[in-house]
């Protein structure tokens, strides 16, 4: 399998990358690990004439504290995110979800920013980003802008990034109170992608009731989506099996579902409920534990 020809650039700064994007136009694509893009190119389902490799831009890598929260450079690999001690402590969902991505080789080379920018409907990070209310830092010709995760995933394989923009950082805001989080995934047996993946974050008070929660679903529909109906149903209720079950029944409300030979729309809708319940139960356990 051989991709069509292309020119290759490896800028060393974000500014340089943006300059190249402007210069080369819409035929240029960013290479951010390449674990989604290169297979498409080898199958000749994509044939960009220019690749701009973000791998040499040091400022895009690494995890740092930011205003009580944390900021993850877009070119940080899945395995760096998965095994980061600073994330593991306060955001254990990164370890849990990261370990479920693809296989070790994918995790070692694929990047969180590449995955989010690709907006694959079955990617794992989009659900995590939504559940943590991440803020996407985007650099473009006119400077930086910040897009909340809830507005970042526009449609299947389409993010809010403009063709001349670069996703630079994923900022995770601090969470107050007793927090629990979990990611549960029904894995496709061949691809390893999420048939349905659910990320759940719950915040509880001393009484064990749900002060706040965010639930996000990936894999089931054309784009990762917050399950706001579930969130509403659970807020203010005790974090027990009964109220979680009842709330999870609302998972999938208003969502469009995908169907394929492995899992129909109906089945994905069902799995969305089951995995929402599982994720919420696990999140509640970790909040109370």
């Amino acid at each position: 399998m051989i991709p069509a020809e292309f020119d290759y650039y490896a800028p060393t700064s974000v500014q340089e990358a943006i300059g190249l994007l402007q210069e080369k136009g819409p035929e240029a694509k960013l290479l951010a690990g390449g674990h989604s893009l290169v297979p498409l190119m080898k199958l000749r389902l994509a044939a960009p004439s220019v690749l701009i490799d973000l791998n040499r831009i040091a400022e895009l890598r690494g995890i740092r504290s930011s205003d009580g929260g944390v900021a993850i450079g877009a070119m940080t690999t899945h395995s760096e995110v998965e095994s980061s001690p600073e994330l593991a402590d306060r955001w254990p969902i990164f370890h849990v979800a990261g370990a479920m991505i693809g296989d070790p080789m994918v995790r070692h080379r694929g990047t969180i920013g590449g995955s989010l920018a690709h907006a694959d409907p079955a990617g794992d990070w989009p659900a995590v980003a939504l559940a943590l209310d991440a803020r996407m830092h985007i650099a473009g010709p006119n400077g930086e802008r910040v897009v909340p995760a809830g507005e970042f995933f526009v449609d299947m394989l389409t993010s809010a990034l403009e063709p001349d923009e670069v996703l630079t950082e994923i900022e995770i805001p601090a969470l107050e109170g007793r927090v629990g989080m979990a990611y549960e995934k029904f894995r496709h047996p061949a691809s390893g992608y999420a048939v349905v993946g659910v990320a759940a974050v719950v915040v509880t008070d001393g009484s064990g009731s749900c002060q706040d929660c965010r639930v996000a679903i990936t894999g089931a529909g054309p784009k990762a989506t917050r399950a706001t109906g579930v969130e509403e149903a659970l807020k203010g209720r005790p974090l027990d099996e009964q109220s979680i079950s009842a709330a999870a029944e609302r998972a999938g409300e208003g969502m469009a579902f995908l169907g394929d030979i492995y899992a129909s729309e109906e089945y994905r809708e069902h799995l969305t409920k089951v995995y929402t319940k599982r994720a919420l139960l696990a999140a509640a356990r970790s909040a109370q534990g």
Binding site: I2, E5, F186, A190, A263, Y267, V274
Partner: protein, 794 residues
């Protein structure tokens, strides 16, 4: 005592491994020849279409392109041969041209090739070929293809039927059903599988204009057969002008037995261009046009008594053969399937009808097990359904119907050769004991009360391997277009080092180790002094290749014939050297001694030196220890056993968790237990995978949906439980080793064990049967439907 057994029966480490473990093996794509050009193939994107025209001009002008060929250029190459037609019936034969020129009949049919300086250029130039297709209606389902009004693939095959083949006694079977107390019917789909050897297929052709000789490297399980077919049928060149070489081969599982278009195309292109030409398919091509396996739709009926005795079996199968006949396609669903459907049971009356059907899909041919997995699945599912119908434990029903040990050789009534030997109940009992079957049943009962879905499945199988006596399998019998004997040459060189050449052609089975164990023991030499050569038609005797778990039973027997001849000659020479009479010379502890005076002895290396120098030989004896044998087995061999699988099904999602897997196999005597365990592991993995995950899927209009490893679910390390293996040993008298064969047993046994387990888990819900693979959604739907109707019933 005649032989000092040192190596046979022990887990000698594989001599193949050091090469593979360091990455220094030589597989086809690792070969680079001076001046080598690269070929890429353009395949049809349509399942069925007429070709109105092909414009290659742009591709031809692309820099670096050496040639572009279409069907017009290759018109002098004959269609590929079908070497095994269904025996005793008329076959409407249609085989593929190496390049289609007027019509394409499946997605993947080859229409043009580009030869270029490098693979990148060849691939780029494919994009520049313009083919004008007129799409035609397509059909992919073998049952639908036979119905009135279905799209027709070939003029000579009305209703797309290639052949109708039957076995058994129809009248007696019908009578058994009329008189039966119990009849159970089930439609069973044995889904299409894609073999997916890790190494894709490929070929390198090199033509020598000086001698007119072709050398073709190929990823083949049967290079001698390829040489014969390419010479005599496809390329029309003298058989002694083609040399075929299988280097290291990265797995085959049947898919590399066959004659493929690219073998002829690289030879043709090399002659045209005067340069070696290499083709290696990519994974997409491998999925589209390398053969697939299985794909049966079967209507099965079993008749019996209320007390659990089986009295009749009636089977009608639609076997999908794909768009054309692959090399041995018709033989698989007939001889290797139809003649094995009674399995391990003594069934008074069986009748089997098989329709071989053309569809607009990739050709279907042997895939690991080849016919016997389909047969074992059929009978083992039907016996479970029968057991449920009569309300008996499936283990007990099996026990009641087994062919008893004292009734071998056993004629199964549908034209298979007599089963050689079997202790079916012994293997079953061992498997039940090892798996804790009675305890599991109690645990299951308790779990069911809690609403949990636990299940256990049994599979008591017999298969046929060590194929086959030529007189039986050949043209006047089962329709195989040649013999099926095997060959070996054993030479002991002057320095005492032995070389074994074999007509078999391993691709992962460890023959170089197993065969060396045999020979080292027979000649009384260290194993490292024996090397095994295979795969090159120049330098190995003609052989039919490696498939059908035949290499040890047939090929190993040929080796033993040759070592016996060497020993016989060596004994004469030893007597001469020891100045003893021949009758007094005996083989003891790996050397010849004179009876009564053990201090006078000669080893094989000492005798080989004398034989090679030729200074002093007995009157009339030729120099050298060098013997060749061609061994035609008197019968096939029939391994058997019982596998037990335990599962738990998740009610909420339909997911199945494999809890335990226990396998008791009887493959006769074992030469290398370690290698046999590996073969069984691998077989079980593939068998479990059919039950659980794998399925080759076409859309109704013939597009391959599972065209990559992103869609076709090969089992991963994380998906499997541990396997618990044990063996019983019932030797066969078919060959001197008492060995039966182990390459396919696991695959044949595992599939029904898993499906039976899941159906057992779902039994409380009233679910009788689900077709494979048991994907979570299918199971969940069934649970939903039954739960809903059970609520209504209440």
């Amino acid at each position: 005592m005649t032989t000092a057994t040192t190596f046979v029966g022990s887990s000698v480490k594989r001599v193949e491994d050091p090469e593979f473990i360091t990455g220094s093996g030589t597989y086809l794509d690792d070969i680079k020849l001076p001046g080598m050009a690269h070929m890429a193939i353009l395949h049809s994107p349509h399942a069925h279409a007429r070709i109105r025209g092909i414009d290659t001009s742009k591709a031809q002008q692309h820099p670096g392109v050496l040639a572009v060929f279409t069907g017009k250029d290759t018109a002098g190459i004959n269609p590929l041969p079908c070497a095994w037609q269904a025996g005793g019936v008329e076959n409407h034969v249609n085989t593929p041209h190496v390049l289609a020129s007027d019509e394409v009949r499946y997605v993947g049919d080859a229409v043009a090739v580009v030869v270029a300086e490098d693979p990148y250029t060849a691939r780029d130039a494919l994009e520049l070929i313009e083919v004008d297709y007129e799409p035609l209606p397509a059909v992919v389902d073998p049952e639908k293809a036979t119905q009135e009004g279905a799209p027709q693939l070939h003029e000579n095959a009305p209703n797309n039927v290639c052949m109708r083949w039957t076995a058994g006694n129809q009248e007696a079977t019908d009578r058994a059903f009329e008189q039966a107390e119990v009849v159970v019917k089930q439609r069973l789909v044995n889904q299409r599988l894609i073999p997916t050897a890790m190494e894709t297929r490929g070929a390198i052709g090199s033509y020598n204009p000086g001698t007119g000789e072709f050398t073709i490297w190929m990823t083949s399980q049967a290079p001698h057969v390829m040489k014969l077919l390419l010479a005599a049928f496809v390329l029309n060149v003298p058989e002694n002008k083609i040399r075929c070489i299988s280097p290291d081969v990265g797995g085959g599982f049947g898919s590399k037995i066959f004659c493929y278009a690219d073998m002829a195309l690289v030879a043709f292109a090399s002659r045209q261009l005067g340069r070696p030409v290499k083709y290696v398919e990519d994974r997409t091509e491998n999925y589209q046009w390398t053969t697939h396996g299985r794909d049966h739709v079967t209507y099965a009926e079993i008749a019996g008594t209320r007390d659990g005795r089986i009295t009749g079996l009636r089977v009608r199968t639609y076997a999908n053969l794909g768009a054309y006949l692959s090399t041995i396609a018709p033989g698989i669903p007939t001889t290797l399937y139809g003649r094995m459907v009674p399995g391990v049971y003594k069934i008074p009356a069986t009748f089997v009808e098989v329709l071989g059907v053309y569809t607009d899909t990739a050709m279907v041919d042997a895939y690991r097990g080849a016919g016997r997995p389909e047969a074992a699945y059929l009978i083992e599912r039907m016996v479970d359904l029968f057991a449920r119908e009569v309300g008996m434990d499936p283990a007990e029903v099996r026990r009641r119907n087994f062919v008893p040990p004292n009734e071998f050789p056993h004629d199964n009534g549908v034209g298979m050769l007599p089963y050689d030997s079997g202790e079916y109940e012994k293997a079953l009992n061992r498997a039940l004991e090892l798996s804790g079957y009675p305890e599991f049943r109690r645990e299951q009962e308790e779990a069911r009360r809690q609403g949990r879905l636990l299940g256990v499945g049994l599979s008591s199988y017999v298969e046929v391997c060590g194929v086959a006596p030529s007189a039986w399998i050949g043209l006047n019998g089962q329709g195989w277009g040649a013999g099926l004997w095997e060959s070996a040459n054993v030479r002991v060189h002057l320095t005492g080092k032995a070389v074994v050449t074999t007509g078999t052609s391993p691709h992962g089975q460890g023959h170089a180790t197993t065969f060396a164990q045999l020979v080292a023991d027979e000649l009384g030499v260290p194993m490292e002094d024996v090397i095994v050569e295979h795969g090159d038609t120049q330098g190995t005797p003609f052989g039919f290749g490696t498939y059908g778990s035949r290499s040890l039973a047939v090929g190993g027997s040929a080796i033993l014939r040759s070592t016996a001849k060497i020993r016989e000659k060596a004994r004469k020479l030893a007597a001469h050297m020891l100045e003893a009479s021949e009758e007094d010379v005996v083989w003891e502890n790996g050397r010849f001694t004179v009876r009564g005076s053990p201090e006078s002895a000669r080893t094989i290396p000492e005798i080989a030196l004398a034989a090679a120098t030729g200074y002093s030989l007995p009157e009339g004896m030729e120099p050298y220890l060098d013997e060749t044998s061609y061994y035609d087995p008197p019968n096939c061999t029939f391994p058997f056993g019982t596998h037990v699988c335990m599962v738990e099904v998740d009610r909420d999602t339909g997911e199945t968790r494999l809890v335990r897997y226990v396998a008791v196999d009887d493959v006769g005597n074992v030469i290398n237990p370690m290698i046999v365990d590996g073969q069984l592991h691998g077989g079980i993995v593939q068998g479990v995978a059919q039950a659980m995950w794998e399925q080759g899927v076409y859309t109704e209009d013939g597009q391959l949906v599972t065209g990559s490893l992103m869609d076709y679910a090969l089992p991963k390390a994380s998906m499997l439980p541990n396997f618990e293996l044990d063996r019983t040993v019932t030797p066969t008298n078919v060959n001197a080793m008492g060995a039966k064969g182990a390459g396919e047993a696991g695959t044949i046994a595992a599939t029904p064990a898993v499906v039976n387990a899941v159906m057992d888990a779902l039994a409380p819900l009233g679910i009788r049967h689900l077709d494979m693979p048991l994907a979570p959604e299918k199971v969940w739907h069934a649970i939903q439907e039954r739960s809903a109707s059970q609520k209504e019933e209440r």
